[in-house]
Amino acid sequence: MSKALLSEHPGTPAASMDIDYYLEKWRGVEGNLIMILHQIQDTHGYIPRELVMQLDRALGIRLARIYEVITFYHYFKLVPPGKHHISICNGTACYLKGAANIIGEIEKTLGVKEGETTGDRLFQLETVRCIGCCGMSPAMMVDGRVCGHVKTTDLPEMINTIRKNEEQA
């Protein structure tokens, strides 16, 4: 994967709070705002407010305009996500095969709604629009790993396994 565009391990390398780090490649490029935001989110997993404040000064774009962009796009997050990402695919193929039931079940198991993080910051629950594995629908992603042909009955155990591993670690 091209490191220039997307860092391979979000959150690990150079989680810099210095805006110059993100501006390096994009300074002076027209329409650079979204690409800089992408870089920030790839590094931190979300877009920290401190960096946006710096960005405001560095680019000369008003803060309100920057937030207008961040809040418009689904991809950008303003709060740090939970440790384990659970994304339920809600593309049409998965929906037809019962994604709604899976979302309901996992919301019950975790006690949070989609887009929320559990109180212990362990789980981040998201629904996503088609991860492109329609052949394995209904599908979900757990920490980047795709699980296909998911059944509602498998879910509690799946969550418990992750919880147990965390407790032991």
């Binding site: 091209s2 193929a93 095969k97 492109g132 594995c133 394995m136 059944k151």
Partner: protein
């Protein structure tokens, strides 16, 4: 790397290929990787290194057969060419031992070739069998045993292997048999035919006309011609498969004016959904004089259930880049942008690699191929906004703003990116262009019907047996795609409808599946071509629920700029939710129709104008279901919800 000149391209075209003779290819695209292809690749690499198998392990993109992921293709001396599906890590060692050392084919994994033969030349070494009619239970094993017995009786044991196939590509045709390597394929084979197949075809090479499967494969691969064949991370391999030959002829043979002429002859129309003639879009951009022009590749494939653009970007990135360069040449643009979803990291990485490789080889930059053509390309990432598939919103997003559409005119061909003339083409459109330039506009236009020429890729998913990418000439019927290519509906249920065009499209009921596909015909049925998502729904799916699903998507994605879309969509969703819960009122249906028409006429951009389509088309064909919800009230609604809840449990 050496600079590529016209002479290098010429040499590659006339004297091809120093590619390895024995190879294993693993389909490493997002779908394949999700199914475990990366682990399979690593495991194979380990086994090959350990046992020192004389075979090269290669990477490739998706060949479209998603149902068979992960796929592994093997070409090995002394063995027929075989594509294996559903190969997992546990199978890798057996696969190598059997196929490469013992020269035996693995049972239950072979996906038979669609490139079927009609002549039987050379010795048959493998007989693939599969029972494709399930009425009497799967009799594949019984037939396999009969074949093995017959092979032994006729003294061919050890010379001919009888293997159960995973998929034959032929459905509801009784026992299907394919002989390899000739790929002669027989259908509706009965026990009584077994001895003559062995006696005549296997021993003497005489093809039995009465059993022969004659129908040519309905698929024609133009856009996906290289997907699943070449290594998407290697420029050399792309060149071996003909990359940049189209650019060469556009640049050095035709010139921009004639190239637009070739495109006109091909009658290629935008594959993003709207179907605007590509040549005309280029011509309009060309005709505007400006100091700077742009071309954009729209890879913001936001339609849930469509993944053809991703597969092409991941499987054949150089061809898309080449298409964009040809677009640049014809419009007079010197700068191109790829606008790709951030959710497609692998596609982004491979396009970036292709751009870097092309730059290094002198295919991007100044004086391309020795001419005065100058072109450069860059990637911009989308950030999860469906509306950014709309031209003007996409432009705003590349400019770094929120993706709100703006009224047209002015069209992007007049005032687009940073106010300059801009031409935006879809990934699939761009991928078809180099092939058209190599083989001529008339060649492309021979496929298709009426005003819709050429081929279209569809992502067929949902309740279909074999979800996959299908590339067919326009004019093929939906019925053929669903039943003959994708094997019909799973669990033996009956089809209720097929949805095309995603959230902007509509449903087509079972009774109309015989309609030949074209932009015009789908429009007449109240749906659209769209980007090519094709969702198959069986009788367990509720059409009201489906309309609600798509509408919720559009309401979520509405940018909120214009009132008809922002308010109309929301109000319709409220009504649909109410109906779905069993609290519908008698005047709800006329009210829905009124809002639909208002949205269609008054919305600013394509998203709002087409958002009512799923509601209108379900109302058109399935009004009875809406009425049942309204008349049946809470009891009926509860029953349907119960039925839908069962779906998650039943899926296996």
């Amino acid at each position: 790397m050496k600079k590529i000149t016209p002479a290098t391209l010429e040499a590659i075209a006339s004297a091809p290929v120093n590619a390895p003779k024995n190879w294993i290819k693993v389909g490493l695209d997002t779908g394949g990787i999700a199914a475990g292809a990366r682990y399979v690749f690593d495991a194979l690499a380990g086994h090959i290194a350990y046992a020192r198998h004389p075979i090269s392990l290669l990477r490739t993109g998706s060949n479209g057969l998603s149902f068979a992921d992960p796929v592994v293709e093997i070409e090995c001396a002394g063995m027929p060419h075989v594509l294996y599906g559903n190969i997992h890590v546990a199978d890798t060692k057996t696969l190598l031992d059997e196929h490469i050392i013992k020269h035996r084919i693995l049972e239950d994994h072979v996906v038979a070739t669609r490139d079927r033969g009609t002549k039987c030349e050379g010795d048959t070494t493998v007989i693939l069998v599969q029972d494709t009619s399930a009425e009497q239970g799967d009799r594949t094993r019984f037939f396999q045993d009969s074949f093995i017995e017959e092979v032994r009786r006729q003294g061919l044991q050890g010379k001919v292997q009888v293997v159960r196939a995973m998929d034959m590509g032929i459905y509801k045709k009784g026992l299907v048999v394919q002989l390899l390597p000739s790929a002669v394929t027989y259908e509706n084979v009965l026990a009584a035919n077994i001895s003559e197949i062995i006696m005549d075809t296997v021993k003497k090479g005489i093809v039995l006309e009465k059993l022969l499967h004659r129908e040519p494969d309905p698929q024609v691969r133009i856009v996906m011609r290289n997907c699943g064949r070449l290594d998407p991370e290697s420029l050399d391999d792309a060149l071996r498969h003909g990359a940049y030959q189209g650019l060469k002829s556009a640049l050095l043979v035709h010139g921009w004016e004639k190239t637009i002429g070739v495109m006109k002859a091909s009658a290629l129309r935008g594959r993003g959904g709207a179907g605007f003639p590509t040549w005309l879009k280029w011509k309009l951009t060309r005709d505007n004089v400006a100091d700077q022009k742009y071309v954009i590749c729209n890879g913001d494939e936001g339609d849930p259930g469509a993944f053809m653009d991703r597969s092409v970007l991941e499987g054949d990135p150089h061809t898309v880049l080449e298409g964009l360069m040809i677009a640049g040449l014809c419009t007079g643009a010197t700068k191109g942008f790829f606008y790709i979803r951030a959710e497609y990291p692998l596609a982004v990485a491979r396009i970036q690699l292709a751009i870097d490789q092309a730059k290094e080889a002198g295919l991007l930059g100044k004086n391309i191929l020795g001419s005065d053509f100058e072109f450069d390309a860059e990637i911009r990432l989308g950030a999860g906004a469906f509306v950014c598939g709309e031209e003007t919103a996409l432009i705003a997003s590349i400019e770094g703003k929120r993706g709100s559409p703006s009224p047209r005119p002015p069209f992007p061909s007049v005032s687009g990116l940073w106010g300059k003339p801009t031409s935006i083409n879809n990934v699939e459109t761009l991928a078809a262009i180099p092939a058209i330039l190599c083989r001529g506009g008339e060649w492309y236009a021979q496929y298709g019907i009426g005003e819709s020429r050429g081929t279209k890729v569809f992502a067929v998913t949902g309740k279909v047996n074999l979800a996959q990418l299908v590339e067919v000439p326009m004019g093929v019927t939906l019925h053929k795609i669903v039943y003959d290519i994708c094997g019909g509906v799973s669990n033996g249920e009956s089809i209720q409808a097929v949805q095309t065009g995603g959230p902007s499209g509509g449903v087509i009921p079972e009774s109309l599946l015989d309609t030949p596909i074209s932009y015009e015909n789908l429009m007449k049925l109240g749906s659209i071509m769209g980007s090519g998502g094709m969702l198959v729904m069986d009788s367990n799916n509720s059409m009201v629920d489906v309309a609600r699903f798509y509408l919720r998507f559009c309401v979520d994605e509405s940018c909120g700029k214009c009132a008809p879309c922002r308010i109309g969509g929301y109000q319709m969703l409220q009504i649909l939710e109410r109906i779905f819960k069993g609290h519908g009122k008698a005047d709800d249906i006329p009210k829905l129709k009124r809002i639909c028409h208002a949205m269609q006429n008054a919305s600013l951009c394509g998203l709002g104008q087409t958002a009512p389509n799923p509601v209108l088309s379900t109302l058109r064909y399935f009004e009875a279901e809406y009425m049942a919800f309204i008349e049946g009230g809470v009891t009926y609604a509860r029953k349907i919800r119960k039925q839908l809840e069962g779906v998650g449990q039943k899926a296996s």
